[in-house]
């Protein structure tokens, strides 16, 4: 057994694999399949100040080697989360990343402040959800706004703060540097690419929201590139994601510079994907006689 543990912002992960925010709910549904303690961590569904109903359906569209979603930030609100979901999750012996979002800087700060008073391990501030009209995406696509919202959240919490970045930008490294300067302890990337599908028989967009977020294997090369660029641009740790479906993919993202890896829609194809990926990473390390997964982080040798 290779040593799979990683350490990010002072938090110990038993392995680097974390189901990504939005695909895993609060973990309950996947407990039917395996013990949540097998996971390095869990990123919870994005939580906002108040309960939100999300976008109308259809919210899901299939695409080649991927999917679009326009769930939006459907969630029961931070108070409900803290009372009814978090205590349960915190018993699961895995790192909990509370993913948060908001339409305004104030909302993000309010949610973070409430979490600061809990035992949650890390806060993942999503400034990149493309499915919320009132500002969500705007935070993630402007250096200035990204910095401001990060600073506001930083002010109200001592928890390790991960800022989750949007790939729908000209320069992800500029945004990353700006949230680093504003006090982020880590960045996670990539969120979904903005995409669209049209049903040619009805001439209607498949998604009721018209556009949605593209995830899945098809975007993996974009994730590798952005993780590599970002890891070279900032000093804080990078958590990588986007299209990971195998242990090899996870290894590749870590070589590109990720300190841990989130697994998103692969969970839909195979609910066991996260635990299989952990096993496959171990197999790769053993075969290549690498004692600890930490040895591979950022080891890509560019030409």
């Amino acid at each position: 057994m290779a040593d799979l543990s990683v350490h990010i912002c002072g938090v110990d992960f038993k392995n680097p694999i974390i189901p990504a925010s939005g695909v895993f709910g609060y973990g309950r549904e996947y407990e039917e399949f395996y013990d949540l303690s097998e996971l390095g961590g869990i990123a919870t569904k994005g939580t906002t100040g108040q309960k939100r109903t999300g976008n109308p359906a259809p919210r899901i569209a299939e695409t080649p080697a991927g999917m679009l979603n326009s769930v939006g930030l459907q969630n029961p609100g931070i108070d409900y989360f803290i009372q009814n979901e978090l205590p349960y999750l915190l018993k699961k012996n895995t790192v909990i990343l509370a993913n948060i979002a908001g339409s305004t800087i104030e909302e993000c700060a309010e949610v973070a402040e409430k979490l600061d008073a809990t035992d949650v391990h890390m806060i993942e501030l999503n400034i990149s959800c493309p499915n919320v009209k009132q500002g969500g995406a705007a935070f993630g696509t402007s250096c200035d706004m990204a910095g401001q919202v990060t600073a506001a959240v930083r002010k109200v919490t001592k928890k390790p703060l991960i800022v989750k970045l949007s790939p729908n930008v000209t320069s992800i490294t500029e945004i990353a540097k700006s949230v680093e300067a504003a006090g982020a302890d880590a960045v996670s990337l990539i969120n979904t690419l903005l995409g669209m599908r049209i049903d040619i028989h009805t001439k209607r967009p498949v998604l009721k929201n018209n556009v949605g977020g593209l995830s899945g294997a098809g975007i993996f090369p974009v994730a590798v590139r952005m993780v590599w660029q970002t890891a070279n641009a900032v000093k804080i740790p990078v958590i990588g994601m986007g299209g990971v479906t195998s242990g090899e993919d996870a290894i590749e993202l870590m070589m590109a510079g990720a300190s841990a890896v989130q697994v998103g829609m692969a969970v839909f194809t195979d609910p066991y994907a996260p635990v299989k990926i952990i096993q496959q990473m171990n197999d790769f390390l053993e075969e290549n006689k690498i004692a600890s997964v930490q040895e591979i982080i950022g080891t890509v040798q560019p030409w």
């Binding site: 899901i60 569209a61 999917m67 829609m265 839909f268 609910p271």
Partner: protein, 256 residues
């Protein structure tokens, strides 16, 4: 709720007509748990999203489940290409099925087109206490009438053009008739317009009605919030999820 993921062997495959296939898979653990109205979430090889297909037969003795599906796009085409002996990747049983009413004296099951198959497990349950109204466009689409009769239920078949079955027209005609004679409940599956019409008839006749809804799904287990469906509970509209809270909903609570 308890469900499993696994690769299960196809024991039997049959074409019911040009586009509709019936398959029976050997999955004892799932058959043990399955309830009428639940569905299986099938991964066609090479795809990244699964396809939800209703359970059309539960045989606990033989440890098998049956599904009946129409080839709609590439995913169902890929499933239809599987043969007896092949393995099929499913998560099941999923969702919240139809309410089983052991005390009921007479229930009406209404299926439209590819909405007929999920009525079979209900017919098997209610037997001669059930009347199954099936509606189809035309003769070539008619399926499963012998299976309904074999369950002991009464079968009423309607076709829009009168080319088959006792009734020319929509399922609502015999439904009105049956409800006026009295029924404890109606259970329905089919196209949205049909479900809406059935709900209207039931509400007018003050008959309890449950309908099976469809929505595009990702996880199938209630985690991703993809399959939202607007439901009114205690006067409040909210997004529930077809895969977990449904697919079967109280017809009165659905926001159309």
């Amino acid at each position: 709720m308890k469900y499993l993921q696994g690769n299960y062997q196809i024991m039997h495959k049959q074409a019911l007509n040009r586009d509709v296939y019936s398959m029976i898979m050997h999955c004892p653990e799932i058959a043990e748990l399955a309830q009428p109205g639940q569905f299986v979430h099938i991964l066609p090889k090479g795809f990244s999203l699964r396809r939800p297909i209703s359970i059309a037969g539960i045989d606990r003795k033989n440890g098998t489940l049956r599904i009946v599906f129409v080839i709609k796009g590439k995913g169902t085409q890929a499933i239809a290409n599987l043969n007896t002996g092949d393995y099929i990747d499913v998560i099941a049983p999923l969702g919240h099925g139809f309410t089983l009413m052991p005390e009921a004296a007479h229930v009406v099951l209404v299926g439209g087109g590819i909405g007929v198959p999920p009525m079979l497990p209900l017919a098997d349950y209610y037997k001669d206490k059930a009347t199954v109204i099936s509606g189809f466009r035309s003769f070539p689409q008619v399926i499963l009438q012998e299976d309904i009769e074999a369950s002991g239920a009464r079968a009423i078949c309607c076709t829009e053009d009168g080319s088959a079955g006792a009734i020319k027209g929509f399922v609502t005609t015999p439904l009105e008739q049956l409800l006026s004679e009295g029924a404890d409940a109606v259970f329905a599956c089919g196209s949205l317009p049909m479900l809406k019409a059935v709900t209207d008839v039931c509400m007018r006749n003050h008959t309890y009605c449950e309908i099976s809804m469809e929505e595009r799904m990702a996880c199938g287990v209630g985690a991703c919030l993809g399959c939202a469906c607007k439901i009114k509970k205690e006067g409040q509209e909210q997004f529930l999820h077809v895969c977990k809270n449904g697919p079967v909903f109280n017809a009165e609570e659905v926001c159309w």
